[in-house]
Symmetry: none
Subunit: 232 residues, 2 copies
DNA sequence: TAGTGGTCTAGACCACAGC
DNA sequence: CTGTGGTCTAGACCACTAT
C-alpha cells in the first residue's frame, strides 16, 4: 500500500466524519487554518481537499462565512437504475414499501407485444408503493418476464426492492425509458394520496437481460413531490 | 463581467484551442512550465487549470510524459442537448418557432444566484414557442449570460434555435437538468393552447461554458403531446 | 539524464460575511 | 473589525517517462 497524498487523507477523514454523523447536514466544518494545523499541513493542501469535496457536492463553501455539509439532493440519475430505497436512505430518510398486488398470468396480446414475445408466456405482476418518511413517493407497477426471474413471486419485497432482485437475478443488458407528465388514474391517485387532476411524473422503463425483455415498469410520482435530475 | 481567475483564463484558452482544432485528439499540449511562462503565472496556477481539465475529461495527463487531448467521449443520449427543430424534422414534421419576447436586463437577486454571479451583470431573456405541424409543442423560456453570448439579441431565431446558437458561441462544459411534472402558469398555458390545470412536462436545464453558467432554460411541454425518451 | 507531472510549503493579497 | 474562503507565488522534492 502506497501512502496516500495528504489532501486525500484529509478528504477521507472529512468523508468519514460526515458519514459517521460527526458533522450533520448544514453544519459547519472547521476552517481551513484549523484543519491545516490539525493535520500538520499547509493551508493550500487543505484548500485542495476542500475544493475537491465541493466539486463532489459533499460540502458547500461560502466565502467569508465557512464550509458546511451539503444538503442531500433529490436526485435520480436515469442512466443508472438506482434503488429507490437507497436513494431515500441516502437522504437520511426512512424507506418503507407496501406490496399491493402480486400475481402471475399469461401475457395478454398487448403485453405479449410489449415484451416482444412470440408466445403468450407467463408474466408476473407486482404493484408496490414506496414511502419516504411515510409519505407515498412512488407507485411502481411492474410486469416481469417469468423466464428471466422465475423466483419473483417468492421475494420478500419489504426486504429487497423489485429492482434490486432483478439486478441480482439477471445481468442488465439495456434500458429504454420514457418520461411523461399526465394525470393519474383513480387507483394510482388513491395510492399516492393525491387528487385525480394533479399532475404525475411518470417513468416507463423497459429492461433487457439475456436477450429478452426482462421487465416493464411504470413508476408514478406526485408532481409536487418528486423530480428527476442529472448532469455531467 | 468580473475578471476571471487566472486558472480559468488558462482553461478557457486551452478549451478554445481544442475547440478550434489547434490541438487535436491525442496530441500533446505544452508543458506546465511552458504555459506558466506564456501566461505569466506560476506553475501551480497552470497545474490547477490542467488538473481541472483532467477531471473534466478534456485532457489526459501522464506523469513523466506529458498532457494530451483526451478522446472525445460518447455523450450518453440522456443528456444530449438535442435541437428540438432537428428532433421534429427527424419525425418528418414541420418545425416553426415564434419569438414572443427578447430583451436584456440586469440580473435580479434570484437570477444572480442561479447564474452564480458575483455582480448583477447583464442577462438576455428570450421566450420562444416551438410548433410541430403548427401545434405548439414547447415553450422555451431562456436566460442567457451576456458575457458568454454577446450577440444573442442579434440572432434570427426563426433560422437558428437558441440552443444551436449557444453551442456555436461557446464550447459546452457541463449540463444540469431537472425534470418535473407541474401545472402551467396562465401565460404558458395560453401559449401551449392548454388549460391551466393540464399537467406539463417541464425540463429545467443549466448549461456551463468557460467556467460560467452560460444559460438557464425552462422548457414547458403539454403532458399529452410530449415525452422524453432514451436508453442504452 | 533531462523533462514531465504530482505534490507540498509558507507565505501573500483579496473579497466577503458576520459581528 | 476579525475570520473566512478564493486565489496566487516562487520556490521545493519526488516519481515517473523517454532518450
Amino acid at each position: 500500500m502506497t501512502t496516500l497524498p495528504a489532501y486525500q487523507n484529509i478528504k477521507n477523514h472529512i468523508l468519514e466524519a460526515i458519514h459517521n454523523g460527526v458533522w450533520k447536514e448544514g453544519e459547519a466544518i472547521p476552517a481551513e487554518m484549523q484543519l491545516a494545523e490539525q493535520f500538520g499541513v499547509s493551508r493550500m493542501t487543505v484548500n485542495r481537499a476542500m475544493r475537491e469535496l465541493t466539486a463532489e457536492q459533499i460540502v458547500t463553501r461560502i466565502q467569508g462565512s465557512g464550509t458546511y455539509v451539503a444538503q442531500q439532493k433529490y436526485q435520480t440519475t436515469l442512466v443508472e437504475i438506482k434503488s429507490i430505497a437507497d436513494e431515500i436512505r441516502a437522504r437520511g430518510h426512512k424507506h418503507r414499501s407496501e406490496l399491493q398486488q402480486l400475481s402471475q398470468s399469461k401475457a395478454s396480446d398487448s403485453l405479449k407485444a410489449l415484451f416482444e414475445l412470440k408466445t403468450k408466456s407467463t408474466l408476473y405482476h407486482s404493484l408496490i408503493v414506496h414511502f419516504e418518511n411515510d409519505i407515498p413517493i412512488q407507485v411502481e407497477d411492474r410486469r416481469v418476464n417469468a423466464a428471466i426471474a422465475p423466483d419473483y413471486l417468492k421475494q420478500d419485497f419489504s426486504r429487497i426492492t423489485a429492482n434490486e432482485y432483478l439486478m441480482m437475478a439477471a445481468p442488465l443488458q439495456g434500458v429504454d425509458y420514457q418520461i411523461e407528465a399526465i394525470t393519474a388514474p383513480e387507483h394510482i391517485a388513491a395510492l399516492l394520496h393525491i387528487s385525480t387532476h394533479e399532475p404525475c411524473l411518470v417513468l416507463h422503463r423497459k429492461t433487457r437481460s439475456m436477450g429478452c425483455v426482462a421487465s416493464i415498469a411504470t413508476m408514478w410520482h406526485a408532481g409536487t413531490r418528486y423530480r428527476f435530475s442529472g448532469g455531467f
